[in-house]
C-alpha cells in the first residue's frame, strides 16, 4: 500500500467523526435538560445532575448502602455464581466431549434445561432460597454454566485426533492425554466460554437483583425507579456498564498470561 502523503492530522477521520457524534449527543443532552429545559429531571436528568448524584451516592447510603456497597454486593453474588459455573462447567464439558456415553445420558436433561432462559429461574430460585445471596448466585450460575460446558465441549471435540494418537503412541494414558494435550489445546475455546459465561452472568445478575434482593446495582436502579429518581437509575446503569467492561478486560489479560503458546 502507498503511504499517505498528506500530513497526518491530530485525529484520524474515524476518531474525528466519533468524537463529533458523541459531542453532539452530549450537547443535545445538555441543551435539552439544563439550557432549554425541554425535558424535566423526572424524565431525563441533566449530565450535571447525574454527576452530582454519582458523587452523592458514593458518600451517602441509598437503598441500604452507598454505591460502593452495592457494587460489592453485586460482585460478591456474581463471583459465587461464576466461580461455581466455571469450576463445575468446564470439567463437565470436557467430560462431556471425552466420554460419549456420559453425554448420551446427561444431554437430554442438559438440553431441556438449557433452553429455559436464566430469568425464568428467578421465581423458582426465590421459592427455593428466598431473598438471599444464594438466589442471585443461582441465577448467575444458571446463566453462566451452559457457556462453560458448551465451549469446553467444543474445544475438546475440535482437538485434532492426530494429537490424541500421538499422545497414545508416546505412552500417555487417558488422564495424561487430557492434562497435557487435550485440555491445553482446548484452552482458547474454554476461555471463550468463560468470557461468555462471565458476561452472561453479569447480565443475569442485574435481572435477578431487579426482582429480588435488598442490595446490589440492580436493586439500586429498581429503587431509583420506585423513588422516581432517574438520575439514580443513570448512575446505576453506567456503573453496571463500566464494571462489565472492566471485568471483560481483566479476563482478556488473564487469557494472554495463561496461554503463552498462542501466537498474537
Amino acid at each position: 500500500m502507498a503511504v499517505n502523503a498528506s500530513p497526518s492530522p491530530i485525529l484520524s477521520r474515524p476518531l474525528a467523526y466519533g468524537a463529533t457524534s458523541l459531542g453532539i449527543l452530549a450537547l443535545a443532552w445538555v441543551l435539552a435538560t439544563s439550557v432549554l429545559g425541554w425535558v424535566g429531571p423526572e424524565v431525563l436528568p441533566s449530565p450535571l445532575a447525574v454527576i452530582a448524584r454519582f458523587a452523592n451516592l458514593i458518600v451517602e447510603p441509598f437503598a441500604g448502602a452507598a454505591l460502593f456497597g452495592h457494587v460489592l454486593a453485586s460482585l460478591e453474588r456474581w463471583s459465587y455464581g461464576v466461580f461455581f459455573a466455571i469450576v463445575l462447567g468446564v470439567p463437565f464439558g470436557i467430560f462431556f466431549a471425552w466420554v460419549p456415553w456420559f453425554r448420551a445420558v446427561v444431554n437430554p436433561v442438559f438440553e431441556t434445561l438449557r433452553y429455559i432462559p436464566p430469568f425464568a429461574w428467578v421465581p423458582i430460585a426465590i421459592l427455593w432460597f428466598g431473598a438471599s445471596t444464594a438466589t442471585q448466585a443461582m441465577v448467575v450460575f444458571i446463566a453462566a454454566f451452559p457457556a462453560c460446558v458448551i465451549n469446553a465441549q467444543l474445544g475438546v471435540q475440535h482437538v485434532d485426533n492426530i494429537l490424541v494418537q500421538a499422545a497414545r503412541v508416546f505412552g500417555a494414558d487417558q488422564l495424561n492425554t487430557l492434562r497435557r494435550v487435550v485440555v491445553p489445546v482446548a484452552t482458547p475455546s474454554i476461555f471463550t466460554g468463560i468470557r461468555i459465561a462471565i458476561s452472561n452472568g453479569w447480565m443475569a445478575l442485574v435481572g435477578a437483583e431487579l426482582v429480588v434482593g435488598k442490595t446490589g446495582l440492580g436493586f439500586l436502579i429498581a429503587q431509583g425507579q420506585q423513588n422516581d429518581s432517574v438520575s439514580t437509575i443513570f448512575v446505576g446503569i453506567i456503573a453496571i456498564g463500566v464494571l462489565g467492561v472492566l471485568i471483560d478486560l481483566c479476563v482478556q489479560r488473564l487469557e494472554r498470561r495463561l496461554m503463552p503458546w498462542q501466537l498474537p
Binding site: 485434532d160 492426530i162 494429537l163 494418537q165 500421538a166 499422545a167 497414545r168 503412541v169 508416546f170 505412552g171 500417555a172 494414558d173 495424561n176 497435557r180 494435550v181 491445553p184 489445546v185 484452552t187 496461554m259 503463552p260 503458546w261 498462542q262 501466537l263
Partner: protein
C-alpha cells in the same frame, strides 16, 4: 544380506481393515502382510488413498485391524507403546508445549529417570540441530523445523521400531531434500528398524532397503522390490544418488508399477 528366515522385528500379518461394518463399509486394506527385519528400512509406496496410511495406524496399534495381527519379535504387539515410535505426516506436535517438552513427553510418560530424560533431550536437540529452539513453541517454527522436532521426539524414545507416515509430505521441496538426507545419514549410523510410508518413488528408492508397492484401494501388496544395501551412492546426497544407474533402474521399475495402479483407477 539379512537372513530371510529370521523372526522379523515387526510383522503385519494378513492385515484386513474395514471402516464401518465388515462387508458393507469401506475396505481400506485387504490381506496385507509386511515384515521388517531388525535394522531394515522398508518403504511402502502406493497411489494416494490406497490404504498405506491405514496400514501404518494399524501397525502402530492406534486402530484395531479387522483381521490379522501385529507382531513384534514374533509376539503380539498390543497397545501402542514406547517400543514403536511414530512420526506423523502433520507433525502432531503438542502446541502448548515447547520443543524440549515435546521431545521429553514420551520419556515422562514411560517413567524414564529424570537425568536420563535430560540427557536424551539434549542429545536429540543436538542431533537434529534444534538446540537454539529448545524453548520455542511449535507454532514459532517452520514446517521443516517442526518435523525435526517430531523426529527427535520419536528417536528420544530409543524405539525398537520407527514408523514414519509420509513424514515429508507436508514440506516444501528444499526442506524435504535436506531432511531426506538427514534421515538417510541417521539410519545409516544407527541402524534403525524403520517402516516408512510415502507416495514418492524417489524417496523410497533413496532411503529404503526394500520397497513394497501397494495397489489402489482396497490396498493389497502388489510387489516387493529388494534394493541394494550399503552401497556408496546411497550415502551421498539425493541428487547424486538419482544419477546412479541402479537408482534409475529401480525408480523406473517402481514407477511403472505405481503408474499402472493410478491409471487403472
Amino acid at each position: 544380506m539379512l537372513e530371510p528366515s529370521a523372526t522379523p522385528k515387526l510383522e503385519l500379518r494378513n492385515i484386513t481393515k474395514w471402516y464401518g461394518p465388515e462387508g458393507t463399509g469401506v475396505l481400506a486394506v485387504d490381506d496385507c502382510s509386511v515384515s521388517v527385519q531388525k535394522g531394515e528400512f522398508v518403504c511402502v509406496v502406493g497411489p494416494s488413498g490406497c490404504g498405506k496410511s491405514t496400514l501404518m495406524t494399524v501397525g502402530a496399534g492406534l486402530e484395531e485391524a479387522t483381521h490379522g495381527e501385529i507382531l513384534i519379535d514374533g509376539k503380539p504387539a498390543g497397545k501402542p507403546g514406547p517400543r514403536r515410535s511414530v512420526v506423523f505426516q502433520k507433525f502432531a506436535l503438542f502446541p502448548s508445549e515447547t520443543v524440549a517438552q515435546n521431545i521429553k513427553f514420551g520419556l515422562q510418560m514411560t517413567n524414564v529417570p529424570r537425568d536420563e530424560q535430560e540427557r536424551r533431550v539434549q542429545q536429540q536437540l543436538e542431533i537434529m540441530g534444534l538446540t537454539q529452539f529448545r524453548d520455542s513453541y511449535p507454532s514459532q517454527l517452520s514446517g521443516g523445523m517442526q518435523q525435526r522436532v517430531a523426529i527427535a521426539r520419536a528417536l528420544a524414545m530409543q524405539p525398537e521400531i520407527l514408523l514414519m507416515d509420509e513424514p515429508f509430505g507436508a514440506l516444501d521441496a528444499q526442506t524435504r531434500t535436506i531432511l531426506q538426507e538427514e534421515v538417510q545419514r541417521l539410519s545409516h549410523q544407527m541402524h534403525y528398524t524403520v517402516l516408512f510410508i510415502t507416495h514418492s518413488v524417489e524417496e523410497a528408492v533413496y532411503l529404503s532397503d526394500r520397497v513394497i508397492v501397494m495397489s489402489r484401494r482396497p490396498g493389497r501388496i502388489k510387489k516387493e522390490i529388494q534394493l541394494p544395501r550399503d552401497v556408496a551412492w546411497k550415502r551421498g546426497d539425493i541428487e547424486q544418488a538419482a544419477e546412479h544407474p541402479e537408482f534409475i533402474e529401480a525408480r523406473r521399475e517402481i514407477w511403472a508399477l505405481v503408474r499402472e495402479e493410478i491409471m487403472a483407477a
